[in-house]
């Protein structure tokens, strides 16, 4: 009958609790927000955006906010799931089009997202990643429904080719009436401001963070008779794998005790395999294939030097993770990377084989002479630089600021769209906004808001997530992570 099953369960709420929910249905401004994170990218998919959303949500829940996450269904994983601390995830059945991103029509996701926003009594909608169509859809719907919106941009874009011109136009439309935008680095902020033509005052810079307890050094695991260079990244062009294919034979010829440990999978794997084949480096270049998130640390601690060859990067989590494991970091100097680590912890190079080889040689020489700080001291230093709690506090400030602002009414929104996004695109999207509003009215007529059951909170001030009542949910959460 089309019922999609979920696995998490919860204990019976007392009627008194239910009543108190109703009573505080619109208790915004009390400093506690009800936030809905929307993105196409979430577990079981793995990556920077995914862990950002998860860690940020966990810290916000800890601060007493109510957080739910909406993403699209991943294969069998659809419906509603609970993660640690009662973090509720909606896996909505939307069609995936390309690269885990859903298709966008600006309309078809409205019924489901409206249902989520209404039943969870959301006050702030926080969308993530400009690659995610679902995030843009959610922003659009949230504005139609009169909710405050925040957007986090995780990536950099060029301005040169036709496709980026088009995506930049869409971003302009999507962000022109969004209350606040968060970027992960100063470079990313400049990029986003230019792309979407924004007022820089409504763009905040809040970096990503790394869970330092997950990435602890373990010098006993590495083999000090040789020097190991670790690379952990997806093997795609944007990560500069072609450069890596040039570095490996250069350095392996010079240093017979040098080894490469490469974790990750992708279309450029063939380049590395060919290099390994041609220079007979099977015992010195190990390709580990796709890594689970939990295995990354075990790979990192086996090395002395962490190498990052990315060609573009808004905020490079990988080098922070590498440094947190006590490795010497060598990285290309692109995008926001120079802002990430203090100069004494990272060796920055130009994105050429020559420059990267030189940088690596300096670090290798330093490693040989033993003049590098101990892994534990590096870890202690990194621990203080980035914490999720700090990120959550700064994000909380953004929410506080946003919840005080009023959401543009339809007529003002239309004016903003037509004045801000160019005449053609502005007119088209103003028309779509009107249609979206009419669709919302139709939905409200078909299923009035008071017919939608208010959900029992899994997190937030009235959370019913307790140790005793949610063993099952806990176990499920552990399976997921």
């Amino acid at each position: 009958c089309g019922v999609l099953l979920t696995t998490a369960t919860f204990a019976p709420p007392t009627p008194a609790l239910v009543r108190s929910h109703r009573a505080t249905a619109r208790a915004a401004g009390s400093g506690r927000h009800r936030i809905c994170m929307v993105s196409d990218f979430f577990y079981p998919n793995m990556g920077g955006v995914e862990s950002h959303i998860y860690q940020l949500s966990q810290c916000l829940v800890e601060q007493g906010h109510k957080v739910v996450i909406a993403t699209h269904a991943y294969g069998d994983r659809r419906g509603v799931r609970y993660l640690t601390r009662g973090l509720k995830v909606y896996y909505l059945p939307l069609q995936v089009m390309y690269n885990q991103s859903t298709s966008t029509t600006c309309f078809h996701s409205l019924p489901l997202l409206r249902c989520v926003f209404v039943r969870e009594r959301i006050t702030v909608v926080h969308a993530h990643s400009s690659f995610s169509a679902m995030a843009h859809d959610a922003l659009f719907h949230a504005k139609t429904m009169g909710l405050n919106t925040v957007f986090t941009d995780h990536s950099l874009f060029g301005f040169a080719d036709v496709s980026s011109v088009l995506t930049n136009k869409l971003l302009t439309v999507s962000l022109c009436d969004t209350n606040h935008i968060i970027c992960v680095s100063y470079t990313s902020k400049e990029n986003t401001v230019l792309r979407a033509g924004l007022d820089p005052e409504i763009v905040s810079v809040i970096p990503n963070a790394v869970d330092p307890t997950e990435f602890t050094p373990d010098p006993g695991r590495r083999d000090d008779s040789k020097i190991t260079v670790v690379v952990v990244s997806r093997l795609v062009y944007r990560k500069g794998i072609d450069l890596l294919g040039g570095i490996i034979p250069e350095l392996c010829a010079k240093h017979p005790d040098l080894c490469f440990l490469i974790g990750g999978e992708g279309p450029k794997r063939i380049v590395l395999e060919e290099v390994r084949e041609k220079y007979q480096l099977h015992d010195r270049v190990r390709l580990l294939g796709a890594l689970d998130h939990k295995d990354v640390r075990d790979v990192l601690v086996q090395g002395h030097i962490f190498l990052n060859t990315s060609l573009t990067e808004a905020f490079c989590m990988a080098i922070v993770e590498g440094a947190s494991c006590g490795l010497q970091v060598v990285s290309t100097c692109v995008g926001g990377i120079p802002e990430v680590l203090p100069d004494e912890m990272v060796t920055l190079c130009e994105p050429t084989v020559r420059s990267l080889c030189d940088g690596l040689e300096i670090v290798i020489a330093r490693q040989r002479s033993g003049s590098v700080p101990s892994p534990a001291s590096i870890h202690r230093r990194v621990e203080t630089l980035y914490t999720w709690r700090n990120v959550a506090e700064r994000t909380e400030k953004v929410y506080n600021r946003v919840s005080g602002q009023e959401v543009l009414s339809l007529d003002r929104r239309l004016t903003r769209l037509t004045s801000h996004c160019g005449s053609v695109a502005g007119a088209i999207f103003a028309f779509i906004a009107v249609l979206n509003y009419l669709f919302l009215l139709l939905l409200q007529w078909l299923i009035p808001d008071d017919v939608i059951d208010i959900a029992i909170d899994g997190s937030g001030p009235q959370s019913c997530w307790t140790q005793t009542s949610s063993k099952k949910g806990k176990r499920k959460a552990n399976q997921i992570l």
Partner: protein
């Protein structure tokens, strides 16, 4: 708004004394415009555009040849002899310009030539019945489309190994046209010329451009002239049209390009994806 002696550093580690949405004066300081744009010179552009013009003329020459063969103005034998002469001349010139044979021996060239001739000669009687039931308009439309495709997909940057798609489109078009000719010998002659014009001539032209850059514009001009001249005998209006097209392509379009160059506004900054400029294939070969 905090005001103090502390300079806002553009780093993410360490807390800044400013709110997260603070905009300092160095915001967008690293924005660059039009980095590495090379200034185009009119005559060099026009010279390169000559290649496009001569390829258009090639098609015109081919159509003119077909038309005179179809009308009976030109006997197929004469065309064949002309083709043989042109081929020998061209082969001689190709050899004379030197620059290595690219690993091909004379024997291989002879073999290829034999295969061409044998297949074309063998299939030319079949060609005649091939499009019998198809209406003439359809055949013309198809040929025109294919020749246009040839012009569109021609590798103008480096014509020497002719691009598969463009060459195939041209050959397809010429087979279509050849099947409308009255006799098998006619078709054979036509296909031979198609081969000369669309497959071999670009190779020679490339060799000319590499080895004798001074002779190249003259060769292009010669072909253009031949195209205009050939067409003028059959269809004067067409030849005028061709002349205008050639002028527009070689003289007006480059001018437009150089003029538009001024309005170029390309934004660069630290967010750009780094380009790999070196040749990394040397590690693999």
């Amino acid at each position: 708004p905090p005001c103090g002696p502390v300079e806002n550093k553009k780093v993410l580690y360490g807390r800044q004394p400013y709110p997260d949405n603070y905009v300092d004066r160095r915001f967008l300081a690293e924005l660059r415009r039009n980095v590495g744009v090379q200034q185009l010179r009119y005559w060099s552009v026009a010279r390169e555009a000559g290649l496009v013009g001569q390829q258009v003329s090639c098609v015109a020459v081919f159509v003119a040849l077909w038309s005179s063969l179809d009308g009976g103005a030109l006997p197929p034998a004469a065309l064949l002899w002309g083709g043989l002469l042109a081929a020998l001349l061209g082969y001689g010139l190709h050899g004379a310009l030197g620059g290595g044979t690219g690993g091909r021996t004379r024997w291989a060239d002879l073999q290829s030539a034999a295969i061409f001739l044998a297949f074309t000669f063998g299939f030319s009687p079949v060609l005649k019945t091939l499009t019998e039931s198809v209406s003439t308009d359809t055949v013309y439309a198809m040929s025109a489309l294919m020749l246009l495709a040839h012009l569109l997909f021609f590798p103008y940057a480096r014509p020497s190994p002719p691009g598969s798609l463009s060459l195939n489109a041209a050959l397809f078009g010429s087979v279509c046209l050849a099947s409308r000719l009255p006799g098998a010998l006619h078709a054979f002659a036509m296909l031979t010329w198609a081969l000369l014009l669309f497959a071999l001539w670009p190779c020679l032209l490339q060799r000319l451009r590499d080895r004798a850059p001074r002779a190249f514009p003259w060769a292009a001009a010669l072909v253009s002239l031949a195209g205009v001249g050939g067409l003028s005998g059959l269809w004067p209006g067409g030849s005028v049209l061709l002349l205008l097209t050639l002028l527009a392509l070689t003289l007006a379009c480059p001018l437009l390009l150089v003029r538009l160059q001024r309005h170029k506004d390309n934004i660069h900054g630290p967010w750009d994806e780094a380009e790999i400029r070196e040749d990394l294939s040397r590690f693999l070969d």
